[in-house]
Amino acid sequence: MMEFFANNGSALITAIGEHIFLSLIALALGILVAVPLGILLSQFPKTADIVIGIASVLQTVPTLALLALMVPILGVGKIPSIVALFIYSLLPILRNAYLGMSGVDPTLVDAAKGMGMSTGQVIRKVQLPLAIPVIMAGIRLSAVYVVAWTTIAAYIGGGGLGEFIFNGLQTYRQDLIFGGTIPVIIIAIVMDLTAGYLEKRFSPKTSSSEVETDYA
């Protein structure tokens, strides 16, 4: 164990850094695109079915195949990895953003409109706050997926903990496999807990006596 850290310590830290970096960038891009798109789609339910259908199809492309497809288009390295991971992160976020927005009790939307809120105000003041828990759940799910998929980015030179795992597989070295896998699991759990905390944090209050509880 100590020997493993002595030999691979600095490489491991670099890999963890790369892994987190790739995941977070892909996820951030996913959020930036999918959340507004989901909100927009909730205003056009007919278009929404089509767009979500397309996104679902993209989702069925195997991760490895999508990464491989990036190589002829964008070459190897971090950029194509991030693009592929970003595409993967989209669907859970998009779908939850759409479902969250359109799942808001229609009587509330009716009341808001009926009292004279503009479409923008209805979204900002009523739908979005009430959809936050569902949207955050989508982001949380996506975060965990992206951390796992980032492992495969090593195949096209994206770096990250995948390098340890693939090297380990090729050379039958268990220490490398575990050395790559365990941090991935830890990162995924930490992401999940963080997202869970944020979900709780940003969810609207609906009770004044609500006690802050740990969310895990």
Binding site: T107, L108, D110, A111, K113, M117, T206, S208
Partner: protein
Amino acid sequence: MIEYKKVTKVYDSDIVAVKDANITIEDGEFVCFIGTSGSGKTTALRLINRMHDPTEGEIFIDGENIQDYSPVNLRRKIGYAIQQTGLFPHMTVYENVVTVPRLLEWDEKKCRDTAERLMERVDLPIELLERYPSELSGGQQQRIGVIRALAANPGVVLMDEPFGALDPITRDALHDLVIELQEEYNNTFIFVTHDMDEALKLADRIAIWHEGEIIQYDTPENILSNPANDYVRSFIGQDRLFDAKTNNIKVREIMNDNPFTITPGKTVSDALTLMHEKRVDTLFVVDDYNKLLGRVTIEFIANVDDQSKNIMDIIDREIRPLRADDLIQNKLREVLRRGRSNIPVVDKSNILVGIITKTTLVNLTYNLIWDQDIAQEEILEEGLSE
């Protein structure tokens, strides 16, 4: 004033929700739209604040075509309350109440004052303003729904079956509240319901909708006494029609309109003479305008030694007259309980117009009991022949 002029609303090019509606709702009037589901009543309501736009025809509020307003600006001037409250769960009661004032960009102090005044008005503690709707009972939530609709003091208030989900007692209390508030602020109310009792209780006028058309638009009394057709009759229900026949008798209709009176200047002996002459034991004291002041009875006169005393010295002012427009059904029990035989009847300005005597009551009771069977049979027959 709200006017529907030849308003038609068609959904999806073939579902006719409202067909050529023409009605006028006066300022300060409380109008109920009643009908079964699919009758067009809710669509008709939602046309007013442009939640729907008419396919044909126009709606005017105070002479202005509502199509000339942007929907958002129009709606901010019109109160709106819906079924199941529509309160925003993520906002405090305060934020909910001042939704429209905030949209209208009132300053914070005015918002706060308005919210507190309305909470007091509906007997809810001010502290509740800081709570969330989920922490309130159903009745409290709907009270908040009502005051939210009234917060910006709109001229027109639309309510779409707001009390449908409440228990009868809470609902009754809210009816009283809505009536009081409407009288106080004098808004025009349009209230959609499918419950005839609710409509009868609340409305100045009722519009009965059926298959997108208004079948009858009239006061509750007229609808009960003259249902436009069999549909209205069946909608009102046999029980209510029967009750209406027996219950709508006004005091004016059964009273004896020739009470014996005496004016203040007369003496006790004058009164006694008059009583003897007319063979009565009670005289009502009225002024020159026939305004009721009190009465003198034979018991009082018998206890007076000095027959030249002014009758004003022995007048009994505790008379509690009935109003000519009171419904006898509301007063009968009171009359019988009081155990007095001669009860004066006055009009709105306290002018004596008649008297209810024991004989009147005997006649009324006789008619009610014997006519009741006849009336009931008639209605049943009408019902069967439909």
